[in-house]
């Protein structure tokens, strides 16, 4: 089935516009926010700077937006009847779905790395090697549920509404998930809601590296649970389509 994978990678490389958007946008947002907070440290944090904290948040933002965007494009393929065409080939549904997630994960890799690089070079963020790995590779792997969530959108939502759903989720995850704004000023009930969202835990994978605690482990478990939930939705959708058509 490598023929299918290589074709999908080729297609991914042909759509550079949205890739650039997914990579460059988070770096831009990061630099803007760093200008806002200058070199302040977060109160009661033991000297962690906002620029270091936000670096983790925006690395997470980059990973989830780019992976979710990639898999959500499935809705277009479904709408033009390409799914039915593929079902007339030996390609297994699970190969199709796994390939989509795999390609989304390739797209999601450079984003967090770019944000981290930017932080290290321009914002004077210092970390151990393990810390750097945690906010790049760690966040990248942890963005898996977001790739699967994009697939859920792609399978359930019509292409016309797909952008709306994506933007809605990005705002929800970005602002309320504590990626674009620090959650310190939010009321308790809102923080409780925020702590359900995968994006919060995705950022905490990185934050854990700054705080040297085990929150990354909790985050990993929560994200694994989300991956299971979203995968269940994907399987359900595919079965439903096969039964109805």
């Amino acid at each position: 089935m490598t023929g299918y994978l290589s074709t999908e990678i080729k297609r991914m490389l042909r759509g550079p516009r949205f890739i650039i958007f997914a990579f460059v946008m988070p770096v831009l947002l990061y630099s803007l926010e760093c200008m806002l907070y200058k070199n302040q440290t977060i109160p009661h944090s033991g000297g962690i700077t906002y620029s270091a904290w936000l670096m983790c948040s925006l690395a997470a933002y980059s990973a989830f937006t780019s992976s979710m965007h990639t898999t959500a494009r499935v809705s277009h393929e479904r709408a033009i009847g390409w799914h039915r065409q593929l079902r007339l080939t030996p390609l297994l549904p699970r190969t199709y779905l796994l390939t989509k997630v795999f390609v989304a994960m390739i797209v999601a890799l450079p984003g967090p790395a770019l944000v981290a690089l930017f932080g290290a070079l321009t914002q004077d963020v210092h970390m151990t090697t393990g810390g750097w790995l945690q906010i790049t590779l760690g966040i990248w792997i942890a963005s898996l549920p977001c790739a699967v969530l994009g697939l859920v959108i792609g399978l359930y939502v019509q292409p016309e509404q797909q952008q709306m759903y994506l933007q809605g989720l990005i705002i929800l995850f970005g602002f309320l998930g504590g990626l674009l704004l620090p959650t310190t000023g939010f009321p308790d009930w809102l923080v409780a809601i925020i702590k359900i969202m995968p994006s919060y835990w995705l950022a905490d994978i990185g934050h854990g590296a700054l705080l040297h605690d085990t929150r990354a482990v909790t985050g990993g478990l929560v994200l694994a649970a989300w991956t299971l939930v979203f995968s269940g939705a994907v399987v359900l959708s595919y079965r439903r389509e096969a039964a109805r058509a």
Binding site: G3, W82, Q85, R87, P90, A242, A243, R244
Partner: protein, 335 residues
């Protein structure tokens, strides 16, 4: 009913036909022998309901390897629903389908069966060749790329992207997608609906080359002339059931027989109607139109009784008349 007698029957029955239509060329000899082989398609007691709507109401059908079958019927007759189930794209409410003795899903996965569906597009950001290459890589025994491009008549557009194709070109490219797995059974759901006349001819040329290799083809169509020209067998569907099943000649014979036209001076319609072999007669200004169940007998009797009869034409009633009367008739029995 399922023997192939189209080419034998064709020329004989149209000796004096006036409806000028080129006769189909004789099919290649030596198609694979049908007996002792699993049927290409076996459908038993097939039903499909969507809520309260019964789209398919019990179909039994065997199609032997090598047959070229036209699936005819008005909109809503259940053709596409049946095609979807045969391909494993949707599940029957009741009944069974096997392709070469296998579950449709398995047959499709093994590349035994493929299809050109009614709706559906190609991926926009890949060229036709890239799309074909991808599908080819999924199959165990794909047809060589050059052969596919030649057979589907798309050598000139192979490097174009999906968005840059006309309706007819896209349809031929999709035909190529179905060919590349080298299927033994090909199902076409209204393959020429998006094509102009030229594209349609090109498409059927390539289709004829494909069926000459002894493969099974089932095509649903609205165009009766396509069924007449390309099918060995016609299956006529009406409101979810099979209304008639036989060769083109048999389907025509089911309803209409032949039409004998002649100028007959000094005759009355009543006299003409009593001639042997004639089932009905009209006469207007000396022009007689005789519906015949046996036009040979009728012609002999006509010339014996009216030696002055001239300008004689005998034509086979078209499939169109058969189609209309069979799909309209409420009580038409399955043939």
């Amino acid at each position: 009913m399922k023997t192939k007698e189209k080419t034998e029957a064709g020329p004989a029955e149209r000796t004096t036909t006036v409806t000028a239509r080129p006769e189909p060329e004789p099919k290649a000899e030596g198609k694979p022998a049908a007996p002792a082989v699993e049927p290409a398609i076996r459908i038993t007691g097939l039903r499909k309901t969507y809520g309260d709507v019964q789209a398919v109401k019990g179909i039994d059908l065997d199609i032997a390897p090598g047959e070229v079958v036209a699936l005819l019927g008005p909109n809503g007759a259940g053709k596409s629903t049946t095609v979807d189930m045969v391909l494993g794209l949707s599940k029957p409410t009741a009944g069974g389908i096997t392709l070469f003795g296998k579950d449709p899903y398995i047959a499709v996965r093994e590349g035994l069966a493929s299809a050109v569906l009614q709706d559906g597009s190609l991926i926009d950001d890949l060229s036709v060749r890239e799309t074909l290459g991808m599908i080819s890589s999924l199959h165990k025994n794909p047809m060589p790329m050059d052969e596919v491009l030649r057979r589907a008549n798309i050598e000139d557009i192979a490097d174009r992207r999906g968005t840059k194709l006309s309706g007819g070109q896209r349809q031929r490219a999709r035909f190529a997608c179905a060919l590349i797995g080298n299927p033994q059974l090909l199902i076409l759901d209204e393959p020429t609906s998006a094509m102009d006349v030229g594209s349609r001819r090109k498409f059927w040329e390539s289709m004829r080359k494909f069926t000459d290799t002894g493969r099974t083809v089932v095509f649903a169509t609205h165009y009766l002339d396509e069924a007449e020209e390309f099918a060995d067998r016609v299956v006529l569907m009406r409101s979810g059931t099979i209304a008639a099943d036989g060769t083109v000649a048999q389907i025509r014979a089911l309803t209409a027989g032949r039409m004998l036209r002649a100028s007959v001076p000094d005759a009355t319609a009543k006299e003409l109607g009593t001639l042997p072999g004639v089932t009905g007669a009209t006469l207007r200004l000396g022009q007689a139109e005789l519906h015949c169940e046996d036009s040979d007998k009728a012609l002999r009797a006509l010339l014996t009784k009216y030696p002055d009869a001239h300008d004689i034409e005998i034509s086979a009633s078209g499939l169109e008349e058969a189609f209309l009367s069979l799909t309209a008739a409420e009580e038409a029995d399955a043939a």
